[in-house]
């Protein structure tokens, strides 16, 4: 019982250490190399399907930029001429620990920028701290719209569009592709299984809102499931969903949870009874190979990963070839997403240098250059058009899984792409208000 007292001391000290750390920090001024922290899940259930491919995507592009071997127009060597020294770090352990590590990166390791973060929870946690510490941070994958809708951020950028588009595109896809002709009431009902945190909650909320606009006659179930992140066992949840009359099941599961869910529900004939809409389940398709059920509506959060494997854009072909050569696997969604963030940073650096009379730019100059930036990434166009020029929007595509027997590889069919103007509110409008007003001014073609 003596522990109780003593342990509190420890945390006092901890707090003290962080404070001390801030005294010791001196801002660095490097010219020919820059140091950047790249954070993704290296351990834990999200490591394999998300974090590691993400890290590899970033690594590949960073090396290519350092060596000037990226295809044109990005073949200029370096980041504003400087080589990037990337420090990879593990994202697991929860938001508070990540904040502590972030402070460590900024205050002790004197990084020039931070790139990464997959979990929406972590982005929500890091966002305010990045602004407080005035550290340019480019989020790569996380998708919660709260990040910019709660407050504008001065130092935080996000190359990934938020979950609103993923969910709205999913709803629209269902409306466009499935709700044709005569349909029974039961098949017009929908439910969901989403992880119980920012990403899962937001994803389902916007899917529901989207359905109300696109399919006003469809009805939402009263018991959508929200199991805990990394729960791993979904027997009861699957039963509950099976008992539910709703035909459409929306899921924003990702990482090991998604694969576990697919495995457990597959043997129970779940995919034959229900139409499952997955907004981010691309990774499971490869790991399950030909076992992966056909007919799952699949999104990849942008023109990345599974949905662009056949895309012939030279940038895309370069990325896929290099990635396969180096890592013996297809690049997944997160590989693209991290690569995009690195690319955005490079372009902003280069532009800022140009504007600064070819002198190495300050952080503020880089931020100014990144604000509202519009650039072509591997397939799609990224435009920092929301959140006062900090939040990117881009097109989102959905398709239906179909195993390609000829190639012996998973494939996708009935691909549809929705442009950003169709699924995101105009700048300055809150997503929820916009959808509730019937999405005025949307352009979908």
């Amino acid at each position: 019982m003596n522990f109780n007292i003593l342990r509190s001391w420890c945390k006092f000290v901890l707090a003290l250490c962080f404070a001390l750390g801030s005294i010791l920090s001196i801002s660095a001024y490097a010219k020919d190399t820059i140091k950047v922290g790249v954070v993704s899940f290296l351990t834990g259930p999200a490591g394999g399907p998300f974090g590691v491919p993400a890290k590899q995507g970033a690594e590949l592009v960073i090396d290519a930029i350092n060596n000037g071997t990226m295809p044109a127009p990005y073949n200029l060597k370096g980041f504003a001429g400087a080589k990037m020294n990337a420090v990879f770090s593990d994202e697991s352990g929860g938001g508070t620990k990540q904040v502590a590590l972030f402070r460590d990166f900024v205050q002790k390791q004197n990084v020039d920028a931070m790139i990464g973060y997959i979990s929406s929870g972590n982005c929500m946690a890091i966002g305010p701290v990045a602004d407080e510490l005035k550290m340019l941070t480019v989020f790569s994958t996380c998708g919660t719209p709260r990040l910019y809708e709660e407050k504008l951020r001065s130092h935080v950028f996000r190359t990934q569009a938020n979950a609103v588009g993923d969910s709205l595109a999913a709803a629209k896809y269902i409306a466009d592709v499935y709700f044709k002709g005569k349909i029974t009431t039961a098949s017009k009902m929908y439910t969901g299984i989403n992880q119980n945190y920012a990403w899962g909650q937001d994803s389902y909320k916007f899917f529901e809102l989207g359905m109300k606009v696109y399919m006003p006659s469809a009805k939402g179930s009263s018991k959508p499931q929200f199991p805990k992140l990394f729960a791993g066992q979904y027997g009861s949840e699957i039963s509950a969903l099976s008992l539910d009359k709703a035909k459409i099941v929306h899921s924003s599961f990702w990482n090991g949870d998604w694969e576990a869910f697919v495995l457990q529900s597959m043997v129970r004939g779940f995919f034959k009874q229900k139409i499952v809409v997955s907004s981010v389940g691309g990774s499971g398709v490869d790991s399950l190979g030909k076992k992966f059920p056909d007919g799952v509506v699949m999104g990849t959060r942008g023109l990345v990963g599974l949905n662009v494997r056949d895309n012939k854009d030279p940038m895309n072909e370069w990325f896929i070839n290099e990635y396969k050569k180096r890592y013996k696997a297809w690049p997944l969604g997160p590989s693209y997403q991290y690569a995009r963030s690195v690319l955005a940073y490079k372009i902003a650096m280069d532009n800022a240098r140009e504007r600064n009379a070819n002198k190495f730019p300050s952080q503020q100059q880089v931020i100014n250059a990144m604000k509202g930036l519009r650039f072509k990434s591997f397939v799609d166009e990224i435009h920092f058009a929301r959140g006062d020029g900090h939040q990117a929007v881009h097109a989102i595509s959905y398709g239906v899984t179909k195993y390609n027997k000829a190639k012996g590889e998973p494939g996708i069919e009935k691909l549809r792409t929705y442009p950003a103007s169709c699924i995101y509110p105009p700048a300055g409008v809150k997503s929820e208000d916009w959808i509730n007003n019937g999405m005025p001014g949307r352009k979908c073609d």
Binding site: M1, G94, G95, V129
Partner: protein, 255 residues
């Protein structure tokens, strides 16, 4: 658990009352944790050893279950906390540092006084021999309860300060049992007996963790686990006993 509770108290007060004053934050955290400790103490004081630990664990998991699932408490994401203020002025990092130091010193003085008091000595007495304490006319349960509330207050205060200094709270890194495990680890590493011991232990722990994290981001747990085992085996009394031994040797040499 109280650590997390204190942290959440700070977060809640900001969310619903917009409270950011560092003093208020600290006292809210202490008071909230103290109240919770007082309430749970009525149940916990009846248990010893492993049952005490298990029940504490159960309570903290109940809290975790609530926090992780309740959306208005931020569920698994937790909540972010804005920088602290004092009388309406924003505290910088340095300001916060001074205040944390101030609170730490207050706490040290308080804990020192407690340990010197009869009640503080009673703790050792109880762990030595409960029957005797009862026969000396003092309720063992009451003494444990008081101690429990005090430690809850300290932990809550620590949590509140931690929340204020980090700017973020979430259940996984504040309430989960493995967090308590880490704190106990620091205690074991430091050894019992002096207020400065956990101080050194915590510094060393952070030191090891930071470097383990940097050197081997995929194997840092292993390094910490190994350190823990090594300490348990080679210096069961923790770092403090190591220092005491040094002192002892020095005295011997002087004689």
């Amino acid at each position: 658990m109280y650590y997390g509770f204190g942290a959440y108290a700070v977060a809640m007060c900001q969310k619903y009352f917009g409270m950011t004053d560092i003093f208020l934050r600290f006292f809210i955290a202490v008071a909230a944790a103290g109240l919770l400790g007082f309430a749970l103490g009525f149940i916990l004081r009846r248990y010893r050893e492993i049952f005490f630990a298990m029940l504490s664990l159960a309570f903290s998991m109940v809290l975790y279950g609530l926090l992780a699932k309740a959306e208005f408490l931020g569920s698994t994401d937790g909540m972010s906390i804005s920088p602290s203020t004092i009388l309406g002025y924003e505290l910088g990092r340095f300001g916060l540092l001074y205040f944390i130091c101030f609170f730490v010193i207050c706490a040290i003085v308080f804990a020192q006084a407690y340990l010197r008091s009869s009640l503080g000595h009673l703790t050792t007495a109880i762990s030595d021999n409960e029957i005797r304490v009862e026969y000396l006319g003092y309720s063992v349960e009451k003494a444990i309860h008081i101690k429990y509330v005090i430690s809850a207050c300290l932990a809550g205060g620590a949590g509140g300060l931690m929340a204020a200094s980090l700017g973020q709270v979430d259940p996984d890194s504040m309430v989960l049992w493995s967090v308590s495990g880490e704190l106990v680890f620091v205690t074991i590493m430091s050894g019992l007996g002096n207020i400065l011991a956990p101080f050194m232990g915590a510094v060393l722990f952070e030191f090891i963790r930071t470097y383990a994290f940097e050197l081997a981001p995929q194997a840092w747990q292993m390094i910490i686990g190994g350190t823990l085992l090594a300490i348990i085996f080679f210096s069961p009394g923790g770092l403090w006993s190591f220092f005491q031994k040094l002192n002892f040797l020095r005295k011997k040499n002087n004689d």
